[in-house]
C-alpha cells in the first residue's frame, strides 16, 4: 500500500528546524549564559556589596546611599556592557554561526539536510532564529538578573540607570543580529567553515582599517579635508559588525538605523543566495565568486595602504607611499589567494582581480590628487553665509580661551559657545584667508602631493543660510611653498585681522557672557619659585565684581592674540570663581547665559581657565586693579 503524503507547510518546516536547531545548541546556550553571569551579574553583585559608601565623618550618617550605589552600578554596567559582555557576545555569535551553518560545508551533511523535505528558506531561517534565540535569551536573562541586583540595592531608576541598561541591551541585540547574519551570509558564500571564519575575521578587521586608511590618505593629499579625528563610527564599522558590537553604546540614531538596514539586507541576501547555492559547492573554497573577489580586494587594499603608510612615515614622500602600496598590496593579494585556493595553482588567473584593485586605486588617487572634482576650490559666496567659525591653532589661547561650555547640575552639556563671525567685513576677511590658503597650496605643487599633517592648524566652518555647514580643515604649513616666508607672513596677517577683531574676541569668550553677580570670589596664587607657594581667596562686593569684570574684558580686547607670549616669567594666577562651592549658580533672567541655556531652569556651571600674570604685564587693567585693591597671594 502506498501512503500518499501531504505536502508539508513552510511554517511547519520552519518550526521544526527552529526547535531542532535550538535543542542541538542548548548546551552552548547554557555555557554562554553561565559565562555572561560571571562576567556581569556576579561582578556587579561583588562590586555593589563591596562599594565604598561615603558617610559623614562626624555623625557617621550615610547620605544618598542609593545615589552612591547608582554610581557604582553605572560604572560597573559601563564596563560590562562595553567590554566583557560584548567580548563574550562576539565570541558566541561566531561559535553559534559555525555550529548552525557548518552543515553547508560538508558533502555528507549536505546529503542529509538537502534531501530532507524542508525548503531551503525554512531551513536557513529556522537556524537563524535558533541562533538569535541562543544569543538573546542568555543576554536578556543576565541583564534581568543585573537589574534585580540593582533593585535589591535600592537603586532606583532615577537618572535612567536600569532603563539605560535595557536600552543598551536592545542596541547590543540589534548589532548582534547584524553580526550573526553577516556570519550566515559568509557561510552561504563560502564552501568550507575555515573559509567562512577567515572571511568573517578578515572583513571585520580589514574594513575599518581600509576606511580609516582611505580617509587618512585623502586627509594627507587633499587640502582642506580632515576626517581622521571625527570619523563617523557608523562609517568606520559599517561592514564590520563584530567591531560594531563594541560600539553598541553609541547614541547616534544613524548607528542603529544602519545596523537595522544591514541586518535586513543580510537576511534577504542570505536567503536569496542560499536558495541558489549549489549543494556541490560544499568543501570547495567559495560557493559564489563575487564575495571572494570583494574580500580579496579589501585585504589587498589594506595590505597596500599598510605598507604604503609605513614607508610614507619615514620621510613623508609620496613615492615611498606608492612603492609601499604596490609591494604591500601584491603581498596581501598573494597571501589571500594562496589561503583561499589552498595553494598557488590559480594564482596566475587571480591577478585579474589584482589589476582591478590597481585600476580602482589609480582612479581614486587621481581624483583626490587633482582636487576631488573641485573640492579644494569650492568656497561659499559671501551672500550665502550666515556666520563663520574660525580657528587658528598657531597662537596661544588662555583665560577663558575663545570658547566655553555650559553644564547643568548633572554635568550634562547645555551649550557650547565658540567665536562666531557674522559681520560682513569679518566674513570677508575669513574668505580672503581661505582663498589665500588654497592659492598657496596650489603654488606648492599641483596635482597635490601627500604631506604628513602635524595636526589641524586652521579650521573654517561656514554656517550657510540654507541651514547647512561647509567645513575645511588645513593641516598644511605654508613653509612648504617656494615663497614660504612671504606666504607665511601673509597668512599670519590675515589670521590676525580675524582673531583680533572685536566680534571674534567677544563672541566666544566667557568674560563677555558673565554678569558681575555670577562671580562669587577670586583666588590669587603666587608662583614665586624662590618661596613657598601662597594662595588667598577674596570675596568681592558688587562694585569690585563689576570693576574686575570690566578690567578683564578690557585686557581681552586690548590683547593681540597672535602675539601672545608664553608663560615664562609668570608670577601669579588669578582664578575666577562663580556660584557655590560646587561652582553652581543660577543665571540671571535675561542674561546672555540664561538665553544660551534656553528652557533649562536649574543651576549651571562653567569651566573658567586661570588668568596667568607675568612680569611684563604691569600695564594690564586687571593688574592695576589688583594692586589698587591690594589683592595679592600674601597676607597684607
Amino acid at each position: 500500500m502506498i501512503l500518499k503524503t501531504s505536502s508539508t507547510s513552510w511554517k511547519r518546516e520552519l518550526r521544526e528546524t527552529y526547535l531542532w536547531s535550538l535543542k542541538r545548541n542548548r548546551g552552548m546556550m547554557a555555557l554562554f549564559a553561565a559565562l555572561l553571569f560571571l562576567a556581569f551579574p556576579v561582578l556587579l553583585l561583588f562590586g555593589l556589596a563591596n562599594a565604598n559608601i561615603r558617610m559623614d565623618p562626624m555623625t557617621l550618617e550615610v547620605y544618598g546611599v542609593s545615589a552612591q550605589y547608582a554610581s557604582v552600578f553605572g560604572d560597573m554596567t559601563g564596563f560590562a556592557m562595553t567590554l566583557s559582555v560584548p567580548t563574550l557576545c562576539a565570541l558566541f555569535t561566531l561559535l553559534f554561526a559555525v555550529q548552525l551553518f557548518r552543515y553547508m560545508h560538508m558533502k555528507r551533511s549536505v546529503d542529509l539536510f538537502h534531501s530532507l523535505p524542508v525548503r531551503r528558506s525554512a531551513m536557513l531561517l529556522g537556524r537563524i532564529l535558533a541562533g538569535l534565540t541562543a544569543l538573546y535569551i542568555p543576554l536578556a536573562l543576565n541583564v534581568g538578573i543585573a537589574s534585580l541586583i540593582a533593585l535589591c540595592f535600592n537603586i532606583e531608576n532615577k537618572g535612567g540607570q536600569i532603563g539605560d541598561l535595557f536600552v543598551q541591551m536592545l542596541g547590543l541585540m540589534l548589532v548582534l543580529a547584524a553580526a550573526f547574519l553577516f556570519c550566515v551570509l559568509m557561510a552561504v558564500c563560502t564552501g568550507t567553515t575555515l573559509d567562512m571564519v577567515l572571511s568573517v575575521i578578515g572583513v571585520n578587521i580589514a574594513y575599518p582599517i581600509l576606511v580609516y586608511s582611505s580617509v587618512y590618505l585623502v586627509s594627507c593629499l587633499l587640502p582642506g579635508f580632515n576626517m581622521t579625528v571625527n570619523l563617523d563610527n557608523t562609517l568606520l564599522v559599517a561592514l564590520a559588525p563584530f567591531v560594531g558590537i563594541f560600539l553598541h553604546a553609541s547614541d547616534a540614531p544613524t548607528f542603529f538605523v544602519w545596523w537595522a538596514i544591514l541586518a535586513v539586507f543580510l537576511l534577504l541576501s542570505s536567503v536569496y543566495l542560499y536558495r541558489r547555492r549549489k549543494s556541490e559547492s560544499a568543501e570547495n573554497t567559495f560557493a559564489f565568486q563575487i564575495p571572494k573577489g570583494l574580500i580579496r580586494f579589501l585585504i589587498t587594499a589594506v595590505g597596500g595602504f599598510g605598507l604604503g603608510f609605513i614607508l610614507f612615515w619615514y620621510n613623508s614622500s609620496t613615492a615611498n607611499f606608492l612603492i609601499g602600496l604596490l609591494l604591500g598590496s601584491l603581498a596581501a593579494h598573494v597571501v589571500v589567494e594562496a589561503i583561499y585556493s589552498r595553494g598557488f595553482s590559480r594564482m596566475k588567473r587571480s591577478f585579474a582581480g589584482y589589476a582591478v584593485f590597481l585600476g580602482a586605486f589609480i582612479v581614486f588617487y587621481g581624483v583626490v590628487a587633482t582636487g576631488a572634482f573641485g573640492y579644494v576650490d569650492r568656497i561659499p559666496a559671501i551672500e550665502d553665509i550666515e556666520s563663520v567659525s574660525f580657528e587658528d591653532n598657531t597662537y596661544y589661547q588662555e583665560f577663558g580661551s575663545d570658547h566655553f561650555d555650559i553644564q547643568g547640575e548633572q554635568y550634562e552639556n547645555l551649550a557650547s559657545v565658540k567665536p562666531e563671525i557674522c559681520q560682513a567685513e569679518n566674513v570677508e576677511k575669513v574668505l580672503e584667508f581661505h582663498r589665500s590658503v588654497v592659492e598657496f597650496q596650489k603654488q606648492a605643487g599641483f596635482p597635490f602631493r601627500m604631506s604628513q599633517g602635524g595636526g589641524i592648524q586652521y579650521q573654517i566652518v561656514y554656517h550657510l543660510k540654507d541651514g547647512s555647514t561647509f567645513q575645511r580643515e588645513y593641516q598644511w604649513s605654508p613653509f612648504d611653498t617656494p615663497n614660504a616666508e612671504e606666504n607665511s607672513q601673509r597668512l599670519q596677517q590675515l589670521s590676525s585681522d580675524i582673531v583680533n577683531s572685536e566680534e571674534y574676541k567677544t563672541s566666544g569668550n566667557l568674560l563677555f557672557y558673565l554678569e558681575p553677580g555670577d562671580i562669587s570670589q577670586i583666588e590669587i596664587e603666587n608662583y614665586d619659585e624662590q618661596s613657598d607657594m601662597a594662595a588667598k581667596t577674596y570675596r568681592l562686593n558688587d562694585a569690585q565684581k563689576q570693576a574686575l569684570l570690566e578690567a578683564l574684558r578690557q585686557d581681552t580686547l586690548d590683547l593681540d592674540i597672535t602675539n601672545r607670549e608664553d608663560f615664562s616669567g609668570r608670577v601669579a594666577c588669578l582664578y575666577l570663581r562663580c556660584g557655590d562651592e560646587n561652582g553652581l549658580f543660577q543665571p540671571a533672567e535675561g542674561s546672555k547665559l540664561k538665553n544660551l541655556v534656553g528652557d533649562y531652569t536649574g543651576k549651571i556651571q562653567v569651566s573658567i581657565s586661570p588668568y596667568t600674570l607675568t612680569e611684563n604685564q604691569k600695564d594690564l587693567a586687571v593688574v592695576q586693579l589688583l594692586e589698587e585693591q591690594g589683592w595679592t597671594a600674601e597676607e597684607s
Binding site: I2, L3, T8, E13, S115, P117
Partner: protein
C-alpha cells in the same frame, strides 16, 4: 514513475550526467551499475533533490524533487557515507526524522530495531561502517518512503546483514509498492535483488532493461570447430567479445539462446554450448564494447 528526460548535471567543466533519458516504473527495484565516475551517485542525488539539474529534468510522478518538500517527503536517500549528527544515537536520529517525515512509523522503527543487532542508545559515530549503514536503513524503513534511494548500501555489510536488508526492502516493495533505486558495484548482490538495471558510463546510460530480459538476451558461447571457419561465418551474430584458442572459440553475443545456438549449429561445430552470463559478465562485456576494458586501460 521516475522519469529522466535529457537530464544534465555539470560540475565545472565535468559533465557528470549528459542528457540521459530513461524511466523507472513504480514498485520496481532498479539497480544502477556502471564504471567509476559514470554518474550513478550524481543521478541519485539529483533524484533526491540535493542537486539541481543544469539541463533537462528528473521527476517523480511528474514532479521535480528540487526544493519541493512535497516530493522529498516521499523520498529517502541513503548516501554512500551516511551522515549522523555528532554525538547522535539511533534514537535521536529517529526523533529527528520523525519530525520531518509525515509517514514516519514508530511501530516500523521499533520492529526494525528488533531485527538489527544495534544498540539504540549508542553513539552512531562509534559504530562500524556496516552498523552505520544498518542505522541509516532502519531510519529509512521507518520513514516509509515511496522511493528509497541507496548508494553502495552493501558496502561494509556482512553477508547475513545483506540478506536481511534485501529481505526487508523486498517486503516493503511487495507490501507497500515502494520503489527502490540502488547504485552498487556489487553486481552479485544486485543480481538476485533487482528486477531492472541501468548501465551508466561517462555520464550516459548505455542501456536500461529488465534484468531477466538482459540476462536472457546476452549469452556466452563455447564451440569447437574442425576446421575453424573464417570470421565472416559469424557475421550473423551480434558478438560483443571473442576469444580463440586453437579450435576452441569462445564469444559473448547478444540474442536469445535458441537463436545463437541455431546459427552456431549451422556452422557444424564439433561441440557447442550456450551458457547464461552473470550480471558481472554482462557488465564487463558491455563495458568492453564501450571501450572500457582492462586492455584499453593498460594500453
Amino acid at each position: 514513475m521516475i522519469e529522466a528526460n535529457q537530464l544534465t548535471k555539470r560540475f565545472g567543466i565535468l559533465t557528470a550526467l549528459d542528457q540521459i533519458s530513461f524511466q523507472i516504473q513504480s514498485g520496481s527495484i532498479f539497480g544502477l551499475v556502471g564504471s567509476n565516475g559514470a554518474g550513478k551517485s550524481t543521478f541519485l542525488r539529483t533524484l533526491a533533490g540535493i542537486y539541481q539539474p543544469d539541463g533537462g529534468s528528473v521527476t517523480l510522478d511528474g514532479e521535480a524533487p528540487f526544493e519541493n518538500p512535497g516530493v522529498k517527503s516521499r523520498i529517502f536517500f541513503i548516501p554512500d557515507y551516511p551522515y549522523f549528527f555528532p554525538q547522535a544515537s539511533l534514537d535521536s536520529m529517529a526523533a529527528f526524522y520523525s519530525r520531518l517525515y509525515p509517514t514516519w512509523s514508530r511501530e516500523r522503527y521499533e520492529a526494525c530495531c528488533a531485527m538489527f543487532p544495534l544498540d539504540r542508545k549508542m553513539r552512531i559515530g562509534n559504530m562500524s561502517k556496516g552498523m552505520q549503514r544498518q542505522a541509516a536503513l532502519i531510519c529509512a524503513i521507518a520513514a516509509q518512503p515511496e522511493l528509497l534511494l541507496m548508494d553502495e548500501i552493501f558496502d561494509g555489510l556482512d553477508p547475513v546483514m545483506r540478506q536481511l536488508l534485501k529481505r526487508i526492502v523486498g517486503s516493503e516493495v511487495a507490501d507497500r509498492g515502494m520503489t527502490v533505486v540502488i547504485a552498487s558495484h556489487n553486481l552479485r548482490e544486485l543480481e538476485d535483488f533487482c528486477d531492472h538495471v541501468g548501465l551508466f558510463h561517462k555520464g550516459g546510460v548505455l542501456f536500461e532493461r529488465e534484468l531477466d530480459e538482459l540476462k536472457l538476451g546476452i549469452n556466452k558461447v563455447q564451440a569447437v570447430f574442425q576446421p575453424l571457419p573464417g570470421p565472416e561465418a559469424f557475421q550473423g551474430l551480434d558478438i560483443l567479445k571473442t576469444e580463440v584458442r586453437g579450435s576452441l572459440v569462445s564469444f559473448v553475443a547478444r540474442g536469445t539462446k535458441e537463436d545463437i545456438l541455431e546459427q552456431i549449429n549451422a556452422l557444424h561445430p564439433v561441440f557447442a554450448e550456450v551458457l547464461p552470463l552473470t550480471l558481472e559478465e554482462v557488465f564487463i562485456s558491455e563495458m568492453e564494447v564501450a571501450g572500457y576494458d582492462i586492455e584499453n586501460i593498460l594500453n
